[in-house]
């Protein structure tokens, strides 16, 4: 696998779309390309952020935050 092929596979990898039989080869290439591979995979995670930002924000129930903060407060108390 050359680096361009690795890049294509990386974009599939970060969204969990590599098939099991592709993962072995991907992991071998990841090891072969070392830091360059790790840096590229990290950059690919920007796709997650982009997909989330592509959606119109949804309104949450006001009670959710109250419950969350109450749980956090309870957890912090000894």
């Amino acid at each position: 696998m050359n680096f361009e092929q690795f890049q294509n596979q990386s974009r599939l990898y970060v969204i969990g779309a590599l098939e099991p039989e592709e993962l072995d080869e991907f992991e071998k290439a990841r090891e072969k390309f070392g830091k360059q591979a790790e840096d590229f995979i990290s950059k690919c995670y920007a796709l997650h952020e982009a997909f989330a930002l592509s959606l119109r924000p949804a309104k949450s129930s006001d009670a959710i935050k109250d419950r969350l903060m109450a749980m956090v407060k309870a957890k912090k108390q000894p």
Binding site: L47, A50, K65, M71
Partner: protein, 206 residues
């Protein structure tokens, strides 16, 4: 041609002057500052809720999951590393994983499928055409990202949506869309590359 130097960049909504950055809030959470979590919640609950809803298609379940996810952010903040990316990316990855896990575990899967089917019939390109007039006028990052996504052929958009928001494998997408496996792989590769490259271009405009 191989990619090089810088990766894609996305920019979350602009902050009020003087407001702490996401990194500063994450440091606060790591130090046990509940107010930092409160601010992070106010900043991103809408984005994360939209993501969860896109996966599970149920308002009440999405609210419950949102609460669980922010609790996980609080509990797992120590595992966040600035070197590995931005807080929003980390939160989205976490939220997506939880939402897809939740979807798979629930018997509600079948009901969600039915809802998705209905929504797809009523609104085929909902992923990229759900901007309000106000958002379009704002011309913000969201609109630019939508532009990149909406420039893809519908079949590529569909393959990416099923993989990202439904957690489907290539084989599952092939079966669902009655498309050869190799075609699904090509659609995903081409579509993701275009989005990745489009995001890289965005950073020159923002």
């Amino acid at each position: 041609m191989a990619q090089s130097e810088s990766g894609p960049r996305t920019v979350p909504p602009p902050l009020e002057p003087g407001a702490p950055s996401d990194f500063e809030l994450m440091k606060g959470i790591q130090a046990g500052d509940a107010d930092a979590l409160s601010q992070l919640y106010d900043r991103y609950n809408g984005i994360l809720k939209a993501l969860i809803l896109r996966v599970i298609h149920n308002e009440a379940e999405a609210d419950d999951l949102l609460q669980e996810i922010f609790m996980e952010i609080w509990n797992q903040a120590k595992n966040f590393s600035e070197q590995k990316g931005k807080p929003l990316g980390w939160m989205v990855t976490l939220a997506r994983r939880r939402a897809i896990d939740g979807l798979r575990k629930k018997q509600a899967y079948a009901r969600a499928e039915e809802r998705l089917q209905n929504e797809t019939e009523q609104q085929p390109d909902a992923w990229v055409h759900n901007a309000t007039e106000e958002e379009i006028v704002l011309g913000d990052t969201r609109v630019l990202i939508r532009k990149v996504i909406s420039s893809l052929p519908p079949a590529q958009q569909q393959a990416i949506e099923l993989a990202f928001f439904r957690g489907m494998s290539q084989r599952e997408i092939a079966a669902k869309t009655n498309t050869p496996l190799g075609t699904v792989k090509t659609r995903l590769e081409l579509g993701l590359k275009k989005i990745y490259d489009g995001l890289k271009d965005l950073k020159d405009e923002l």
